[in-house]
Subunit: 387 residues, 2 copies
Amino acid sequence: VTDGATVLPARQHTIRTQNLGLVLRQIAATPGRSRAQLAQTTGLTRTTISALVDDLIDRGLVAELTPGRGARGRPASPLVLNRSGPAGLGIEINVDYLAAGVVDLTGAIRAHRTVVSDNRALSPRLGLQRATRLATALIAEVGLPIAGVTVALPGLVDADGTLRRAPNLPGWQGVRCAAQLQESLGLPLTVDNEANLAALAQLWHDDGLTDFVLVSGEIGVGAGLVMDGRLFRGVRGMAGEFGHVLIHPDGPPCGCGANGCLEQFAGQEALLRRTGLLDVATLVSRAAAGDGRTQGALTEAGRALGVALADLINTLDIPTVVLGGLYARLGEWLVPAIRAELDRRVISADWAAPTVLISALGADAAVRGAAGVAVAKILDDAVGVGQ
Amino acid sequence: VTDGATVLPARQHTIRTQNLGLVLRQIAATPGRSRAQLAQTTGLTRTTISALVDDLIDRGLVAELTPGRGARGRPASPLVLNRSGPAGLGIEINVDYLAAGVVDLTGAIRAHRTVVSDNRALSPRLGLQRATRLATALIAEVGLPIAGVTVALPGLVDADGTLRRAPNLPGWQGVRCAAQLQESLGLPLTVDNEANLAALAQLWHDDGLTDFVLVSGEIGVGAGLVMDGRLFRGVRGMAGEFGHVLIHPDGPPCGCGANGCLEQFAGQEALLRRTGLLDVATLVSRAAAGDGRTQGALTEAGRALGVALADLINTLDIPTVVLGGLYARLGEWLVPAIRAELDRRVISADWAAPTVLISALGADAAVRGAAGVAVAKILDDAVGVGQ
């Protein structure tokens, strides 16, 4: 950069990009405003706004609805994010199921499908083929242009999208999931830990919930930490391996190589083992019917969760817990035991008791979060963020 | 703000304040530069620099040393932070001792004193009187003008400086330590948790160490979490209550009201109880002499610390541990057991093993951190930060 002539266009490009982002965010935050209203709130001229809006419409990001009546009786066309525009696909590969979901630009989930799949018994090659088929079928069904994909995985994920460590899917460790799915789907793709993505879905779903730990129960137990409205990933992006907090030094061996981990007391398989039941649906119905053995097992699991959460709250001071996944379905029987341990073990509990909430999102939280991340990336890319 | 005439002076004041801060930070970061060199690196005019430097000298913050020879043979007076300028006082009230230290503007500790004091047996009134006497004697001895005080306390501290919860100093709970010491010393004063302050001292001491957990062993066990070069305080400022992580559900009762806490396995009193010894000096000398019972007790304590740290690293992904306080003196015998548990329990250990370091700071880390916080506040206040 040596003279004004070369600097100016670059700066103009930056300003245009910034204004494009500004208008897009305005439309996302307050859908239904007209061009005139946008000019008023942004301070940009009507001509500039119109050029920017036309650009966003051309890119398929924004739609202009049928005009109603404006403030002074002139027709005013409400601008909204385009429900038919580019959408995000979320894929979840978990231990005993595969899932996929599509979220449109407005954040609405437009299609969702889960299939039982014992991925421990499958080679990663076959598992990824199944995931690809599931995703492809969903894309065909929903009929939206898919612009990006995020994949939720039950373990630690490397920066390059390799599933680095997954105690419950040991055969998948070292598999380059991102690269292989990107090739089979032919779409831009990122991967992340499933509890992280479920926590993001929770953050986006609940206004005002900005600091919490989402504890997600499946075969594995994961945590997504959200602080100050942002996902907390730790120094190397590996935070949230909550399932391996020690509950009892003489506890049962765990797939991670250690023993006495939370998963062995509160994971899905531990619950089924302790109740002698074969599936989660029966577990839920037995608990609801007041079966003593089932409720006793859930109380034990709740105590283990409470101990691990007390450690986390004492160490991190993140005093709101959201139960997700399987734990949301079992909340009624888990919460009393969790609360009792928190009361007993959290140092600040006497004057600032932790809050325990049950997620209103279903089992599709991780897929929603994954598709939502893909949508956020579409919007960011469209206005040049991070380019 | 309605017209240019009222805005301008405020903006000029802001610019002057910013420039004052800029010059002060430059002198702090690279002591020994001359006015001419500062003009060069900051882009400010020589006249502006001289006015700012004169202001900083008038305030006692900066000193101009005897001129050496400048680059072109002209005399150049090196500018440094004033070692005789306003200094910060740190006070530590711990379970079984009191300490005080003075740090000058350059960050050097200029005086330090620790006295044994069983504060559990003292009324807070008497304890605070002793702390005041200790501080007053130290201030007289060091002969520097004290501009601010920070007090390190072994427990959770409220925003208003009350010791809210201290399982090892139950008689002090609810005591308004900040208000009482501020009155008796007649100096601006803040309070904070001792492990937090020790972690700050560690951060300032070790260049390049930006992400770590400092585990500080005394009668209590605390943690200070530093991430991305900043102290992590949690949602309500209560992070770091690491001494109450569960180690064994059937473990001994703890002063916090729960049982099986880390402190009951690795705190100073647990170590003395298990070895049958009466003081830490004997513990260290017995371990150094190869006494089996002592080394066995330290291995057990190391295992407990390793388990609690593995939980923390799995949850938070903060893979560098620094052992401080008593643990720094006992590091030789603790580290092998800590490492063994980390290897066994940390999910990412196979390809990214955690690091265990021993703090080079002595038992005065918390006092250094406290006095350092007071110094940082002096420098911030001088240039109007946060006003």
